[in-house]
């Protein structure tokens, strides 16, 4: 604290130190005139968060649509045709699904590229983090490690799924999807993909909220506890729903295995129309 009435001796000392430091302070305030630091780190940080948020929201919506098989075959059939534009363009256009998948794929690749910046680079960083995590036994630190590994797994697993949907958009329907899951032997991939995607997304949403200070209560620890419960709830809900849904497709796929490749025709459509679809 600066004394109000410093002694003459003290005054000289302070004046001398002020004379020394003032040009430095002025120089710093004026430093904006120089070409400044790149704004890209800020943009990349924003883009990583935004792409992650969009992918997590897509994942939730995706699960809602896919799980409509639990209501009825017709419900899922309706959802699938809806995204092909059948109810507002007159007939289904599977290319619309490919368009959406291409958008998701671009978002996914972009997010992966941005998130790679945070991965441990090289053995030294890898070893330093693992030693730190094991020593610290700290929930959020361990959760990030889980997110790194689920993210790494998604590089491969999600890419397979997205490529398949991109190329075969018309093969989405109760029988078509069930055949892919069972006869096409994709259920092991979907099982692993379910856990990797849901855990990665729920941890990601939790960390997004903390990173940007969303839903802050007056006590940050209380809001964090709530967010953690929401995160656990999201993981449990979507993994359970995913498992039940996958089980339904496996069941249907097994029952339909002998007729694999046959397209689903909803009960409401007449026989001639159905035969026209084969």
């Amino acid at each position: 604290m600066t004394p109000l009435n410093p002694s003459p001796e003290r005054h000289d000392l302070l004046a001398a130190s002020t004379a020394e430091t003032t040009p430095l302070a002025v120089a710093s305030v004026a430093s904006r005139a120089k070409p400044g630091k790149s704004r890209w780190p800020a943009r990349l940080d924003l883009l990583q968060s935004l792409s992650g948020l969009l992918l997590a929201l897509f994942l939730m919506a995706h699960m809602a649509f896919v799980s409509s098989i639990l209501i009825s075959h017709d419900a899922f059939y309706t959802v699938a045709r809806f995204f092909e534009g059948a109810y507002f363009l007159g007939k289904p256009y599977p290319i619309l699904v490919s368009g959406v998948v291409a958008g998701v794929l671009a978002l996914f690749v972009g997010h992966a590229w941005l998130a790679l910046r945070k991965f441990p680079a090289g053995f030294r960083q890898y070893r330093a983090f693992v030693a730190h995590k094991n020593r610290l036994r700290h929930g959020d630190t361990s959760m990030w490690w889980l997110q790194v590994w689920t993210g790494f797994a998604l590089f491969f697993m999600a890419t397979i799924h997205l490529y398949q949907m991109l190329m075969n958009p018309s093969l989405i329907g109760p029988y078509e999807s069930a055949d892919r899951v069972w006869t096409g032997n994709l259920w092991p991939l979907y099982l692993l993909l379910l856990f990797a995607a849901e855990l990665h997304a729920s941890i990601g949403l939790y960390r997004l909220a903390l990173k940007w200070g969303w839903f802050d209560a007056s006590d940050p620890n209380r809001s964090r506890r709530r967010l953690r419960w929401v995160k656990h709830g999201l993981s449990a809900f979507f993994i359970t729903l995913g498992l039940v849904t996958l089980g339904a497709y496996i069941d249907l796929g097994r029952a339909h295995a002998e007729h694999a490749g046959e397209r689903y025709v909803p009960a409401s459509q007449s026989a001639p129309a159905a035969s026209g679809r084969h």
Partner: protein, 252 residues
């Protein structure tokens, strides 16, 4: 250990504690890092600081560790206590098991045993982040200080409580991986000076200091800093606040 499972000593009989301390003296080329065990009887209200002084006074005068204030104010006695950063003077042995492992804080330059040179790193960070008031207004030492709203002063003081102990850096996963990262202590200081009305720097000036992956955008929100800060500083909210402010500049 879960407190309920911990074996309670019989009444009147002090617990026998074993402290495994990581010993290493970088000044001695022959010194090899190793754990050395010391045993002592627990006393009422014993802190790790008291236990370490007891060991140094009665068992091993060569044991190196730092302390000044004994009251969680100076930040000198930070160390890894059973693998987690904390202050020796604020840690009661009764909250720990019979066997306690102590190691120096990682990341900082080792002086010897439990003593690390946090001061050198803190000074470097202060110089790098220019953590002092920047003002072009001529200083009039005879004038009264400008008034400040009590709420504003309180908010600054809240962040000024940082004791630079280094626990946030030792608890930070990012800092362990990337040595250039300024950590919560650096970001908290920027938040403190950003609040100060006497500091004339703008967000664009602060961006020059922390607007990259070694600054606020390097933080991955693992929050070891927030959870391990011995002064319970609101580090999560401060870093989130700075991130919003710095990211907003990226949109311009």
């Amino acid at each position: 250990m879960i407190p309920l499972l911990r074996r309670r000593p019989t009444a009147g009989q002090p617990r026998r504690l074993t402290l495994s301390i990581l010993r290493c003296n970088p000044a001695d080329p022959a010194s090899v890092p190793h754990l050395q065990d010391y045993e002592l009887d627990e006393a009422d209200g014993m802190t790790l600081f008291i236990a370490l002084n007891d060991i140094r006074a009665h068992q091993d005068g060569s044991l190196q560790f730092d302390f000044v204030c004994r009251a969680g104010i100076c930040g000198s006695c930070a160390m890894l206590i059973n693998g987690r950063p904390g202050l020796a003077c604020r840690t009661l042995t009764r909250d720990l098991g019979d066997h306690i492992t102590l190691a120096p804080l990682p990341y900082f330059e080792l002086i010897g045993d439990l003593s690390v040179n946090t001061g050198k790193w803190m000074r470097g960070t202060s110089e790098r982040l220019q953590t002092w008031i920047h003002s072009t207004t001529p200083v009039d030492l005879d004038a009264l200080e400008a008034r400040m709203e009590p709420a504003e002063a309180e908010a600054i003081y809240e962040l000024d409580r940082c004791i630079e102990c280094g626990c946030c850096i030792a608890g930070c996963g990012t800092a362990q991986m990337r040595e250039g990262f300024v950590g919560a202590v650096g970001l908290n200081k920027i938040a403190r000076f950003r609040l100060d009305p006497r500091d004339q720097r703008s967000d664009a000036d602060f961006y020059e200091l922390i607007g990259d992956d070694d600054g606020v955008f390097g933080c991955m929100s693992l929050l070891g800093c927030h959870d391990l800060c011995p002064k319970q500083l609101p580090l999560q909210t401060q870093i989130a606040f700075l991130r919003r402010k710095m990211a907003a500049l990226g949109l311009r």
